[in-house]
Amino acid sequence: MLSSRGLPPLQAWKTEAMKQSSTSRVCRDNSFTSNQPQKARLRIVLFLLAIPLLLALSLLFGPSGIGLPDMNSPAGGAILSLRYSRLLMGMMTGAALSASGVVFQALLRNPLAEPYVLGVSGGAGLGATISILAGSSVILSLSLPVVAFVSAVLTLMVVYGIARQGSSGQPSVYSLILSGVIVSSICSSIIMFMVSTASVEGLHNVIWWMLGSLQPVSTGQQLLSLGLIVSALFGIWLLSPRLNALALGREMAHYQGVHADLIIVSGLLCATLLAATAVSLSGMIGFVGLIVPHVMRALFGPDNRRLVPLSALGGGTFLVLCDAVARTIMAPVEIPVGVVTALAGGPFFLIILQHRMKQAWIA
């Protein structure tokens, strides 16, 4: 029996424990109310209730006007189904980017980590650009996530390989981030070069895709991406208790019986798959993968078992709302959704972080 070993029987301590916890509740001062589990649970319930409302709200926005389209006309039905598709695109992309950010931040134990910083998005973007410029559009749409994933993994391996030079064993987080930033900017330079020398017909596709938008892609690609994203999210959710153990570093996780290197590699692969799929779906949308995990951590604490699903939901909803604004605010002109995520989301998130940064990271 477990309790027969190690420590004295529980009963002897139980009364003591009750006494202790009741006194501690009294003397606990107000500055720590925020990490009480009850309040966090209430916050989660409110958050989960708000999501369907916000998503429904996004369906009311579009270049044809604010409010539900006239459902009696054939155009009305088409408009609504278009808005549905964009909602699905936004949920997929936002969820993938945010969850991938959560994993990168947890694995590297660094608030700067995200798909862009590690060069993963840049690599995926490069792969996608090459295949858009080279390929034909039908096969392309299905191969795009795969090409993006392969090139993102290759980029990650290059980043890891560079960072590992000169370090004994595991590369440090700082060298990973530094080489990630460098490789990332090399990738975007190559993209720029290819765009500037591309033929006119390919150019339109690439530019449109690079700016980042939630224009629906082919049904086949949507289904494939959905499958990839859901399985990667599930994988991450399975890893999440072990990601918590890794918060104390690889060494401590190892001592606690976590197969640390296996968790790190599978975590990196899942996060890369998410980021690459998001990039292949919607182009280069920045900001979501970095900031949503921070805000979710600030609101709900750093426990990855909660953080992974909540960030996926929160990131998806956030992107859907931003897209609703992007397609409405200057209708009929649609502005890139990345502009809205940064311009509207930035200040909002900064306010939250300023008040609740302590709940997320302690510098």
Binding site: L2, S3, R5, G6, L7, P8, L10, W13, E16, A17, Q20, S21, T23, S24, C27, R28, F32, N35, Q36, P37, A106, R109, N110, P111, S168, G169, L238, P241, R242, N244, A245, A247, L248, G249, E251, M252, A253, H254, Y255, Q256, G257, V258, H259, R297, G301, P302, D303, R305, K358, Q359, A360, W361, I362, A363
Partner: protein, 423 residues
Amino acid sequence: MSENALTFDNVSAGYKERVVLDGVSFAIAEGEFVSLIGPNGCGKSTLLKTAAALLKPLSGTVELFGQDVRHLKPAVRASLLGVVPQKIDSPMAFTVSQIVMNGRISSIGPWGSPSPLDHDIVERSMIYTDVSELRDRFFTELSGGEQQRVALAMVLAQEPKIIMLDESIAHLDINHRQEVLQILMNLNREKRMTILLVSHDLTLSAGISDRFLLMDKGALIKAGTPAEVLQADLLSRVYNCELRVQQDPYTGYLQVSGAQDTLRRRRKLGKTVHVIAGGGSGLELYRRLLIEGYEVTTGVLNRLDSDAEAARALNIRAVLEQPFSPVGSDAISEASTMIDAADYVILSSVPFGSGNLVNLRLAEGALNNGKTVLLASDIAGRDYTEGKAALALSKRMLSAGAVNWQTIPELMSMLQQHHTLNP
């Protein structure tokens, strides 16, 4: 006959291009309380990492309860062995109870969440280490000592059969240090938990340990009871300083302390030592002589020699000659004035060639003038002069009353004895 909890069989381990552990063999029986001691950087932490299979041994085998650690599944290993590292840190704002729950991670299956039993074990570990009042505080906000107790709670929650602590009690205040040691002793005595404690507090460890393991420079120097290992001359040699071992008249415990008069001798001694060195052989001498409170002069050294650089940095008066040149007459006369003013002349283990042989002649001159001259032993191995002139010269000096020295601690006590006899 109890089973061995931890066995090292001729284990060498280390990092890329740097072997830290060199052929270490020992066994710890189940239920033993063992202290692992040794100077900084001698390989204690590497030994713990190797025991926990964080580092793969380059050769040899490590066994936990008779099983090779390399072949243990991580979860099984964690149920046998818990490690409390020197320091743990979490950049993210986990609360204390979340951190302690990490100790159960390998018992929670891939699908499940913590069971009531897991919560009970976490609760008990927190009470045991007196951190349950901190349960909702952020781990990172705690003081170093509180963090250490949380770390211990986390490892206790693992319910391992052997716990290794890496200098983990160093940050604790005296109350909690006693308390944590009491916890460890209780676990050891009542539950036969095996404890391996890396410690720098030799006196404290002497009171609680069944056995000591003494390491130096990656090798296991001595293993045995506290009385067998805590020998003043052995410790003084390993720690490279003068130490004293006494038995407490009331408790019978051994007490290790720096020799009291060494500590008291911080003031200037009013004694001057002239050091003849070169090529880096003087640095440790300069350092120790200055710490002991001597006035130090040195020379003749060539400029750019590492000892000349060290002397400049340490503000030691030095006679210098141009780089790569034989010592000239100006320098010689300056050095002999300096030697005249000194009470002792010490020769380091500097190699002698035709260029610096004159330094040895200066020392002989000082000896003939009645100075005490101390020569580093084994000059034959570093005599590069034609016809072994330096060796001959040193033999002549030894027969004329110069003294041989082997180690710096020995040299220091020789000096000390000498000037207490001749104030």
